[in-house]
């Protein structure tokens, strides 16, 4: 058969004219509902943070404005100019995971596994063997398992080939969190570890939404985990001038949107959400936290570490996510900002919020929970998506602590103390080194089951 180039050209032209059709054809979407996409809801949270070993303790810490940042005590910080961080206190992986699994995996994977188990438990969901093929896992980390690599290399230097553990090869890989979660829980649908640096958690949740919308999975465990609190990782982050040097005042060091901010505080954490198609969740009578209605992903392509000061790509991510959720900017009742507390991020983020929300920018509550948790890197975006969903349910917006002298005094940064607001639409911003931007929009769930995305 001879390929007719004119026909190919015609197809391309038609695809541009009907982008939705092209997308449906290319991504193997489930078109059993006449090409309509499945709605996505969240039914379970698994969170481990410097504020607590579960979601309940983490949320109550956030509402109280408690800081999880302290002086590092888990390792020797001598000679490192930054000696503070958000450590996870009292986490014992052996309490929730089999000994052999704990042994062959590193701490980031332990956190991801424990959070995934907690998320499924919270969703009251069991993965039955005949439904396993419809359960996916999208879990990533911003950083590779450096601790395992460093330990294995030290043993290799000291004792040569026979000094290397046979699990060093798998432990040094970057798929640990997703692969071990899928293996441990028996999830047999699509799985992957995705990374977009500090936006990883939001990217994993956003891409997991796409798996459900398109009908490629009914349930996806999605989120991120990172444990970069080692002497080496603290030192390299400090060397990159990313971290706050407010070492003598740990609880006041993470100061998003405050004029005296001087960098972020590095923390460990894990956040896994259970995403389900609305139909699946309603059929099994699940408790629904809210709907994930919009996701916008863009890239600055401006600089590896410096955000585009004009925020052009961030603005596009935010507008895309809102459009996907059919939400006008004035409908947004809460923004969980990326708000790292680095001078450049916060200024650029304020600019975008001002542009997108217009007059509403001075009334919508915008807070950075990183002021309390520190920056949990790959976990941050997923935990902050949980925050946005909990705001919809509870009507409480957690504060930005340490925001004593706000850069934009006309905006409501929910300074110091939580506020009460009835919120129907909440936004969570996440941006990462590499210019990765991911914005999620959550909507209060009012029922509607299988119905199509608006």
């Amino acid at each position: 058969m001879v390929t007719d180039h004119r026909t190919l050209g015609y197809c391309l032209f038609r695809s541009i004219e009907f982008p939705f059709l092209a997308e449906a054809l290319m991504s193997n979407r489930d078109i059993s509902q006449g090409g309509q996409l499945n709605r996505v809801v969240v039914t379970g949270f698994g969170v481990i943070s410097p504020l607590g070993l579960d979601w309940s303790d983490t949320w109550s810490g956030l509402v109280q404005g408690r800081s999880g940042v302290g002086v590092i005590s888990d390792f020797d910080v001598t000679g490192i100019p930054v000696q503070i961080g958000g450590q996870i206190k009292g986490f014992d992986p052996s309490a929730v995971l089999p000994a052999a699994l704990v042994r062959r995996t590193g701490r980031t994977t332990h956190l991801a596994l424990a959070a995934a188990v907690a998320a499924l438990h919270d969703a009251k969901l069991e993965i039955e063997p005949d439904a396993a093929a419809r359960v996916g896992v999208i879990v990533g980390s911003a950083y590779p398992p450096l601790r395992a690599v460093i330990d294995a290399h030290a043993a290799f230097e000291r004792r040569g080939f026979m000094g290397i553990s046979p699990y060093a090869f798998t432990a040094a890989g970057v798929v640990g969190p997703a692969a071990e979660v899928a293996l441990h829980l028996g999830a047999r649908g699509p799985s992957a570890s995705l990374s977009t640096a500090c936006a990883t958690g939001a990217t994993c949740v956003g891409e997991a939404m796409e798996l459900i919308r398109s009908g490629r999975a009914d349930v996806v465990l999605a989120g991120g985990a990172d444990d970069t609190l080692t002497a080496f990782e603290l030192a390299i982050a400090a060397r990159a001038k990313a971290l706050s040097r407010r070492t003598g005042d740990p609880e006041r060091a993470s100061r998003p949107f405050d004029r005296q901010r001087d960098g972020f505080v590095m923390s460990a954490g894990a956040g896994i959400l259970v995403l389900e198609s609305a139909g699946h969740a309603e059929r099994r009578g699940a408790r629904i936290y809210g709907e994930l209605a919009g996701y916008g992903a863009t890239t600055d392509a401006y600089n590896l570490t410096v955000p585009d000061p004009a925020g052009v790509a961030v603005e596009r991510a935010l507008r895309t996510a809102l459009t996907e959720a059919s939400a006008a900017p004035e409908e947004v009742g809460y923004v969980n900002a990326h708000g790292t507390g680095t001078p450049l991020n916060d200024t650029a983020e304020i600019k975008v919020i001002r542009r997108v929300f217009g007059e509403h920018a001075t009334t919508v509550p915008v807070s950075s929970t990183k002021s309390m948790t520190g920056h949990m890197l790959g976990a941050a975006g997923a935990i902050e998506a949980a925050v946005a969903l909990e705001v919809l349910r509870s009507g409480i917006t957690p504060p930005t602590v340490n925001c004593d002298d706000p850069e934009d005094p006309a905006m409501n940064f929910v300074a110091h103390k939580a506020q009460h607001h009835q919120v129907d639409v909440a936004v969570s911003n996440s941006f990462g080194f590499g210019g990765h931007n991911a914005v999620l929009v959550a909507r209060r769930w009012t029922g509607g089951g299988d119905g199509p995305v608006r």
């Binding site: 000994a99 052999a100 026979m162 046979p166």
Partner: protein, 86 residues
């Protein structure tokens, strides 16, 4: 009498290692059990057991010897023989 006690002690040390690496219970680890058949261990777990024996008992098990250690008893014999040598 002494030899039997030593034998028992070595078996319990190896059984503890197998339990830690594989999640099997130590009581299942008996001399006549084969690693890959009876105990259903994958090849990486078997290397990990040899690695732990090396770390904890101090007897190095080269890869070419490991391939010939089929049962728990074979491993016990190997360790006993080489512990005497060192």
């Amino acid at each position: 009498m002494h030899i039997a006690d030593d034998e028992k002690e070595l078996l319990s040390r190896i059984a503890a290692i197998v339990e830690k690496v594989s999640g099997l219970t130590a009581a299942e680890v008996l001399p006549d059990k084969s690693f890959s058949g009876d105990l259903a261990l994958d090849s990486l777990s078997i290397v990990e057991i040899a690695f732990s024996v090396q770390e904890e008992v101090g007897v190095e098990i080269p890869e070419e010897d490991l391939a010939r250690l089929i049962t728990v008893g074979d491993l016990l014999d190997f360790v006993r023989k080489h512990a005497e040598e060192s």
